[in-house]
Symmetry: C2
Subunit: 216 residues, 2 copies
DNA sequence: TAGATTGTTAATCGATTAACAATC
DNA sequence: TAGATTGTTAATCGATTAACAATC
């Protein structure tokens, strides 16, 4: 998933020693813990947390083992302590600046989506072939020419890629050359980039097509 | 993912005998073949097609083996024939009607996204707590009360779920009860539904969080 | 025929799960 | 102490890859 991917596996490159799939599930656990924290729940067992996150308890314990010993045998895990530890590991402490490239139909939609900000990611700039002046509360759209400079000046690490398939590879290369480390790729092609660049693919058309197969 | 997913595995339930991950990759191959067909390429080897799709040639051949013998030894695969066969298997011949539930920030964005239609999926109705009259070229938004009836009258099989996490489980159950077979779930919670319902999860916040981990 | 490439089997790899000793 | 639940090891399962015989 997707993985989904659903769906399916979607990315390349391992950075630390935590397996990619485990890292993904840590995010899942983190969200479930957030829910429990707001309900003022103090401790949670691996069985309970696993059930909310939709995994097996053995898998959850194995995943958490990568984060060091965090639970208390016979009792379970302290919700807030575990949450804080996962936030630390996933690097959620800091607000991450992100750029968005390709402001067509989907790009426009994602620009106006407030869910990213809510989770600690700020879209600091948007780029497209045709630049546009900023307007009432709307981020301006810059021409592609200024992309490289901005990435380097502001030390941006992450990009959301929403350009058409026909230009995705070339824009992906520009991003990589400018120093971008990680790309969330919504374009409908597989990018061929150096292994040091992490790429997660989200292909909405394939997700639907995939579902339609399983819906008979 | 990509889940890819990125990222991760994202769905439940097997319908036929083709593995879920293979089905997903078949969609990937289909898109690469489309590209080649427009370039008037006649035949393609497993090595060439695999490279475009970003997989190993052995994996591609194994995936295609589920679709029956399609290639010619010593030569490769005929682009158009293979494409047609994959479309047939994935059930892309027919246009699939889909409903969208939850027209908040992201739902609104997806409603205006034209990529779905381009791939053979038509959003035939949208639902939200607050109904809205249709306007200039814009689909009307119906109240939740009319959802069940419409699903059953029009025999809708697929739904895109964009409601907040707090109501996702309950709306998911309503969809399942009304006869929906497959759900593309954008809400940030794991749905607990009967195994007969296929669910693909797309969690944009987790995708970004996941990338930020690998971007150091 | 010689060269190329498929379809398929067997080997490898990695991820999930079961089981249980450690221990709170 | 008795009961519960973790952390971890070993067993299982599934998916990927390498290798090659079949064959165009």
């Amino acid at each position: 998933m997707s993985k989904s991917p659903g769906t399916l596996e979607k990315s390349t490159r391992a950075s630390s020693d935590i397996p990619k799939k485990t890292v993904y599930r840590l995010s899942l656990y983190l969200r479930s813990l957030g829910l429990m924290a707001t309900k003022r729940e103090r401790v949670v067992s691996s069985a309970a947390l696993a059930s909310v996150a939709g995994v097996q308890s053995a898998q959850l314990r194995r995943d958490l083992a990568y984060c060091g010993p965090l639970g208390k045998r016979g009792t379970g895990y302290e919700v807030v302590i575990l949450r804080n530890r996962l936030e630390e590991i996933l690097g959620r402490a800091s607000l991450q600046p992100v750029i968005l490239v390709g402001v067509g139909n989907l790009g426009q939609a994602l620009l106006s989506y407030k869910g990213f900000a809510r989770e600690g990611f700020e879209i600091v700039a948007a780029f497209d072939l045709k630049a546009q002046k900023p307007s009432e509360g709307r981020l301006g759209i810059r021409g592609m020419g200024s992309m490289r400079g901005l990435i380097q000046r502001q030390e941006i690490r992450m990009a959301i890629l929403c350009v058409p398939g026909s230009s995705a590879q070339s824009v992906g290369e520009q991003l990589a050359n400018a120093g971008i480390q990680a790309i969330l790729n919504f374009s409908p092609v597989v990018l061929h980039l150096p292994e040091t660049i992490a790429v997660n693919n989200v292909n909405l058309a394939i997700e639907l097509e995939n579902l339609s197969y399983f819906a008979r």
